[in-house]
């Protein structure tokens, strides 16, 4: 009945959805931000520990939400660790493009390996009502990088 949904719910997504990585608080976080999807009740809190040069030393999150939003946040934390804020923003822009269109014309340019890891979420573009589930974590990351305590929504 649901075989064709394996494109959206690939094993890696179900796995990260069930057992999200970096799912914890960072007590010594330099930056935190909350993400909220008021329409569906998804919530997350993101924690960043930054190196003196501003790069992301550690990143973790806590929250609740659907498999897509939890897997996206989990994959994001794995992808942005060690990245500079500029690189993290660039990944976020490309990911949003990927989630909305299913393709990523700029992806070959740099950070190829990172985008490859996020590729399993590209299937979400066929489900307009679910794109915001996939992008919530990245909106929250932007909010954390840009200042701290703001509330992000992916509405």
């Amino acid at each position: 009945m649901f075989d064709d949904l394996r494109d959206l719910y690939q094993e890696v997504i179900l796995d990260h959805g069930r057992k999200p990585r970096n799912f914890r608080r960072l007590e010594d976080a330099d930056r935190t931000a909350r993400g909220d999807n008021p329409m569906c009740g998804d919530r997350m809190e993101l924690f960043l520990k930054l190196r003196p040069d501003g790069a992301i030393e550690d990143v973790a999150f806590q929250g609740r939400g659907c498999a897509i939003s939890m897997a996206s946040a989990s994959l994001m934390t794995e992808t942005v660790k060690g990245k500079s804020p500029a690189e993290a923003h660039m990944l976020g822009d490309r990911f949003r493009n990927l989630a909305m269109t299913g393709t990523c014309p700029d992806c070959g340019a740099s950070l190829e390996e990172e985008m490859e890891r996020l590729q399993p979420l590209s299937g979400v573009h066929e489900f307009p009502s679910r794109v915001k589930c996939a992008t919530l974590a990245w909106h929250t990351l932007n909010a954390a990088l840009d200042g701290g305590a703001k509330e992000a929504t992916s509405e």
Partner: protein
């Protein structure tokens, strides 16, 4: 003339009246289980609205010409039809609004601000739709000294009448504003008993009938409430029209809510005097075509007969209770004794949004989220929401079987 509706109940013949139900979805028939959010429309309603616009349309209560007189007659005939449908004592008790939300806001703004006094309280329940909660938050926060009290809901999803009694005891409650049927739990509240308890303590009663009015016959003279709100689009009618039934004695004490044309007796540059109820509360050009559509919807369900509708729904509810209880890992929210065809549920291994995406792929349209009832979901520890299947008069036993089968397969998918 509208296409005649045969007496009795034949769900396949009824389904043929609803053009949208013929749709296929990825090669599967559409199984529409979101009528609690908004119901589909029968051809009789669609045709009545087209005819109104093609043959009998002009603004109402204004022109001394044939078309305006025809439109006015149709609009007022719709009011009379609503009055008969809910057994109101007088058609003037029927105020047309845009939906239930507008009807409840009208009570909160006009009666709440014009009649309630500092020190009085409004008593709502934990199972309210936001439409019957937020307007009362706004009234409480308006620095008028009006308190808001909340009646608890039991684990079975019923109103806790002991708590209701306790919160009425000091006589300060001026209004009990509760749902007549929960849009999440399906619970039908004991409206007659609530009215008796409230009136005994000097409180008026507003019932939110958005769901109830669709599922069973509601009788204003038998219920004895003070205000009753419902909406056209859940009753197989169009969007953009709702009803506030309000006793004339209340309407007379209520200041207007919106000012403008059609609600005045006379206007000078210095001031105005108000029209008689209910026109006083219908400022501006009303939803004329929508009133015609609502009239056609009422004729449609009345021709089938509310008792027949209720019997069909009982069959569906009993069947759904059995079939959904058999789905492994499924939690049903609310197990009230008296309930209608609304089922909210959660699967143990799937988030409601993931589940709704799967069900959509199977052609099943259900709602996912908190269904405009966040506090109720918090009450049951389901902040992440639920999926909700809600039935209409066109829902079949086979569709419920298909839902149960899809839920079982969805659980396997996520395991």
């Amino acid at each position: 003339m509208n296409a005649p509706v045969q007496p009795g109940f034949d769900v396949e013949r009824i389904r043929a009246d609803f053009p949208i139900l013929a749709q296929q979805h990825r090669g599967r028939p559409l199984v529409f289980l979101d009528s609690g959010a908004s119901a589909q429309k029968p051809r009789q309603v669609i045709q009545a609205m087209v005819r109104s616009m093609e043959e009998r349309y002009a603004n109402v209560h204004r022109g001394a010409y044939r078309l305006s007189e025809a439109a006015t007659a149709d609009y007022e005939a719709a009011r009379a039809a609503v009055a008969r449908f809910i057994n109101a004592a007088d058609p003037r008790e029927v105020i047309f609004t845009t939906n239930s939300t507008a009807a409840i806001n009208l009570v909160a703004h006009s009666w709440g601000r014009g009649v309630l006094r500092p020190g009085q309280a409004v008593l709502v329940s934990e199972m309210e739709h936001h439409a019957n909660l937020v307007p009362w938050h706004m009234l409480r926060d308006d620095n008028r000294g009006i308190e808001l009290r909340i009646c608890r809901v039991t684990d079975a999803g019923e109103l806790d009448l002991d708590d209701l009694e306790a919160k009425l005891a000091d006589g300060k409650v001026g209004l009990v504003a509760v749902t007549h049927m929960s849009n999440v739990l399906g619970t039908v509240t004991p409206a007659g008993r609530i009215v008796a308890m409230a009136h005994a303590k000097g409180a008026k009663v507003l019932l939110d009938g958005s769901q109830a009015a669709v599922h069973r016959r509601v009788d204003m003279q038998a219920l004895g409430a003070d205000f009753y709100a419902f909406t056209g689009h859940k009753l197989y009618g169009p969007t953009g029209i709702g009803v506030l039934w309000a006793r004339l004695e209340h309407q007379e004490r209520m200041p207007p809510f919106l000012g403008g044309g059609d609600m005045i007796a006379s206007v000078t540059l210095e001031g105005s005097t108000w029209a008689e109820p209910p026109a006083k509360f219908e400022a501006g050009t009303p939803p004329i075509v929508e009133a015609v559509g609502l009239h056609a919807a009422i004729d449609y369900v009345s021709a089938i007969g509310m008792p027949a509708l209720e019997a069909h729904e009982h069959t569906l509810v009993d069947h759904a209770m059995r079939r959904l209880s058999d789905v492994e890992g499924l939690t049903l929210l609310g197990r009230a004794q008296d309930r209608g065809g609304v089922f909210s549920f959660a699967l143990d291994n799937a988030h409601p949004h993931d589940l709704a995406t799967l069900l959509d792929r199977a052609g099943l349209a259900v709602r996912a989220g908190r269904h405009c009832a966040e506090p109720l979901h918090a009450r049951f520890g389901l902040e992440g929401g639920t999926c909700r299947a809600s039935f209409g008069l066109y829902t079949t036993l086979g569709e419920i079987d298909y839902l149960a089968e899809a839920l079982t397969k969805a659980r396997e998918f996520f395991s």
